[in-house]
């Protein structure tokens, strides 16, 4: 079966700093993969390479068997229409109301009229647990958890084939984090979508992943089913999931 997403030997450096050093990763259709790893290891860069926001220096990225690196114009837009993305900060457009944010992909991307797009936006907001009266608010009036929900609603409104989640629970309290995790799992299941998430929140990873991959030193150093993460046999993974300061992963910290 053709993988939904396939990365082969993806490299990316910024100046002298090599961030991705030959990433290989395959995601099957309908599968939910979570990439874990410490802060600054290049998880977001990996995601941005797939989305086309960052161009890799080397390597191949395929979506549905089609090479997407270097795509431009209409071909790029066609690929992007398969995607839905929840940003770490939600990245809501602050010049638009909540419903206009949710309907943005429908109106600008799919060319839907504003009336039907409004109806669809209200329906989508309800799917993430937000009432109709939220629709007319500005993003600045929302709490962090509500912003994430609106961001999720915007990501799923166009019924994408592939969903990306960038640190979906960062900055939320544990209860709201769990609510978001449940909504992500439900949305992915209902859409039958393929999902790629990046996080350093293990609770989130366990909840939304079918498979976990760990990124370290610019490479995927371990990957396997979510059930195997506790007995991976990999020291890096063990140190990371137990949150130990001592181990093979050395954090860059100033010592007194």
């Amino acid at each position: 079966m053709t993988p939904k997403i396939k990365l082969s030997g993806v490299r990316k450096s910024f100046g002298q700093k090599m961030v991705l050093d030959g990433v290989d990763l395959e995601i099957a259709p309908g599968q939910s993969v979570v990439v874990i790893g410490g802060s600054g290891v290049g998880k977001s860069v990996l995601l941005k390479c797939i989305l086309g926001l960052v161009t890799p220096d080397e390597g191949s990225i395929e979506v549905d068997g089609v090479e997407v690196t270097g795509l431009r114009g209409g071909a790029r837009s066609e690929v992007l229409r398969k995607f839905g993305m929840l940003f770490q900060s939600a990245a809501l457009f602050d010049s638009l109301t909540v419903w206009e944010n949710v309907a943005f992909g429908l109106i600008e991307g799919a060319g839907m009229a504003r009336g039907p797009a409004h109806t669809k936006a209200i329906e989508t907001l309800a799917r993430v647990g937000l009432a109709e009266d939220v629709a007319e608010l500005d993003p600045a009036e929302l709490s962090g958890g509500m912003k994430k929900r609106v961001g999720l609603a915007r990501a799923i409104a166009t019924t994408p084939e592939i969903l990306f989640f960038d640190e979906p629970t960062t900055g939320l309290d544990p209860i709201m984090g769990d609510v978001i995790n449940d909504l992500i799992a439900k949305s992915v299941r209902e859409l039958g979508a393929t999902a790629l998430s990046i996080t350093h929140d293990l609770a989130s990873a366990r909840k939304i992943a079918d498979r976990i991959a760990m990124l370290h030193d610019g490479r995927i150093i371990w990957q396997g089913p979510v059930a195997d993460v506790d007995h991976s046999g990999n020291d890096h993974v063990d140190q990371f999931i137990h949150g130990r300061a001592d181990g093979p992963i050395q954090m860059q910290v100033l010592k007194p």
Binding site: K48, L53, L80, R81, M85, A91, F104, G105, R154
Partner: protein, 260 residues
């Protein structure tokens, strides 16, 4: 050693200048491509026209009024040295339509609108809103840059026309009330020597200045980095670069229109 360091500094500065010039030229090229190719966003263009034009009216109007008043007074005092007071109305109207109106209005708009464009797009950049636009299959150049460029190019000439009228009115008021000119004679003197080209050249300049202001605001905002500090820097750079570029363009355009 000092000589090598000095030469290296010059070399680095020159290479950086080339890098920035190239990036700006590519940005301008992408922006122009976005202006002429669909999709177009008429709602956004109208919104930007209101933001650039309507909300700039008070600052442009007041600046033009006082500049016209000062100009009339200064030219009267200067021309009195060689008994040419009767030329005040003609000189003022030519000066305002050709130069003062377009330049003063555009500098005011550069300060108000150029900064606002850079701040808005810069904030969108550092909060990942521009990335979000891209992932929603929307070209940021068509959605953000093109409407601002089109609106600025269309709106600046209207603003300058208003600045011309208000400026001439300010000069007329000073001329009649303070300097003792006859109202009819002042208007007659203004119209006798005013040519269509004086007004048209000023409006053409305004369109070019509008393009420069919007381009600089969008460019510096689009490439801003590093949070609030980066957005602040982008805002300052947008106003400074737009002001310098529009004054440079003013000279070039004046040569083009009027050099014999």
């Amino acid at each position: 050693m000092f000589v090598i360091t000095f030469l290296a500094t010059i070399g680095r500065t020159f290479l950086n200048f080339l890098r920035v010039s190239g990036r700006l030229a590519m940005f301008a090229g992408r922006a122009m491509d976005a202006v002429i190719r669909p999709p177009f966003y008429p709602r956004l263009i109208l919104k930007q026209m209101a933001s650039i034009g309507y909300y700039s009216l008070p600052v442009v109007g007041l600046t033009a009024l006082f500049t016209g008043m000062v100009l009339a007074l200064q030219i009267f005092l200067g021309s009195a040295r060689f008994n040419a007071e009767s030329a005040v109305a003609s000189i003022v109207v030519i000066g305002i339509t050709r130069e003062i109106g377009p330049v003063i209005a555009s500098l005011m708009v550069a300060g108000r609108v150029g900064a606002a464009i850079a701040a808005e797009i810069g904030t969108m950049r550092v909060t990942e809103q521009i990335d979000a636009l891209t992932t929603l299959a929307t070209n940021p150049f068509r959605y953000l840059v093109a409407p601002r460029l089109i609106a600025a190019v269309l709106t600046l000439p209207i603003l300058v026309l208003i600045a011309d009228i208000v400026g001439v009115f300010g000069a007329y008021t000073v001329g009649v009330v303070k300097l003792g000119f006859s109202p009819v004679a002042y208007i007659q003197n203004s119209l006798d020597f005013l040519q269509v080209m004086d007004v048209v050249s000023g409006l053409a300049k305004a369109a070019v200045f509008g393009f420069i202001i919007a381009l600089m605001g969008c460019y510096h905002g689009y490439y801003s980095r590093g949070g609030a500090q980066g957005v602040g820097k982008a805002t300052t750079n947008a106003v400074v670069s737009a002001s310098i570029l529009l004054l440079s363009a003013d000279y070039v355009l004046t040569e083009l229109f009027f050099a014999q």
